[in-house]
């Protein structure tokens, strides 16, 4: 019962904050609402018994990435947008319409397809006994070793790319 209450609370706050992200004129306010969204998602990950993911959600997303966004907004010294949408009304109507159609399509898929699959090797009790972080670490360095190494190369490329792009003369 308490779990359901927590989920409904977090889901409502997440949805409202997500909508506020895209309707704010001031980008700084958008970032603040996005941080609220990400914090609530971290709470939902805790409900799903994924504490490691919840912690890196707060550290990496709400911490590092959002601070990066704020830095860039402050550096660019943007003024508020005069209008939320610059083009004609058709774009607004069409955009919202397409969003609703997409939501309906995803909802139809979720309600029509049987969301079942073969059960994996890690039921919640076993993960709790072994330790969530330990299980993820063991998987990362055994089954997912190659993607893990590729991610390190990707991050290196991103660092080099960001430095090159930030130079005065490109």
């Amino acid at each position: 019962m308490f779990e359901t209450f927590l989920f409904v609370l977090l889901a409502v706050v997440t949805t409202i904050a997500a909508i506020l992200v895209i309707v704010q004129r001031n980008p700084v306010a958008s970032v603040i609402y996005l941080i609220i969204t990400l914090f609530c998602l971290a709470g939902i990950y805790l409900l799903l018994s994924a504490p490691f993911i919840a912690v890196i959600q707060v550290l990496v997303y709400a911490g590092a990435i959002m601070v990066l966004f704020l830095f860039v907004i402050m550096l660019l010294n943007l003024e508020k947008e005069k209008k939320l949408i610059y083009r004609n009304r058709l774009q607004k109507v069409l955009g919202v319409f397409l969003g609703v159609v997409l939501l309906a399509q995803i909802g139809m898929i979720f309600s029509s397809v049987l969301l079942e699959g073969s059960k994996g090797k890690f039921p919640a009790e076993k993960v709790a006994a072994l330790g969530n972080t330990e299980v993820i670490a063991r998987l990362l360095f055994t089954d997912f070793l190659l993607p893990f190494e590729i991610i390190s190369v990707l991050l290196l490329v991103a660092i080099v790319g960001a430095i090159v792009l930030a130079k005065k003369q490109i």
């Binding site: 992200v21 969204t37 990400l38 409900l47 059960k119 792009l165």
Partner: protein, 100 residues
């Protein structure tokens, strides 16, 4: 016990909000935030499926998605900075350097 479909519906709503923001907004930084919203919706679906199918692969994939999102944000924001230097604003409508 909250069912799997509640989590998936929340994920679908978040993804749709991200898509609408991406389509409507002209400010490149807000477009980027919409992309982050969509990535988070996908992450939520991953974790929910991982929990309800007794598998840990979904959580490992969320780890990878976060790393890719971080790399994408860094490079994208660097591009926005470069565009701002050239154009003095970040409006997506005015970014036409690659057009011919």
């Amino acid at each position: 016990m909250v069912s799997l479909s509640s989590y998936l519906i929340l994920s679908a709503i978040l993804f749709s909000v991200g898509v609408v923001g991406f389509l409507l907004r002209r400010n490149t930084i807000v477009i980027f935030m919409s992309i982050e919203l969509m990535l988070n919706a996908a992450n939520l679906a991953f974790v929910a499926f991982a929990r309800f199918l007794d598998s840990m692969d979904g959580q490992v994939f969320v780890f990878f998605v976060m790393a890719v999102a971080a790399a994408e944000a860094v490079v994208g924001l660097a591009i926005i900075m470069a565009m701002y230097r050239a154009k003095e604003n970040v409006n997506a409508d005015e970014m036409n350097l690659m057009k011919w």
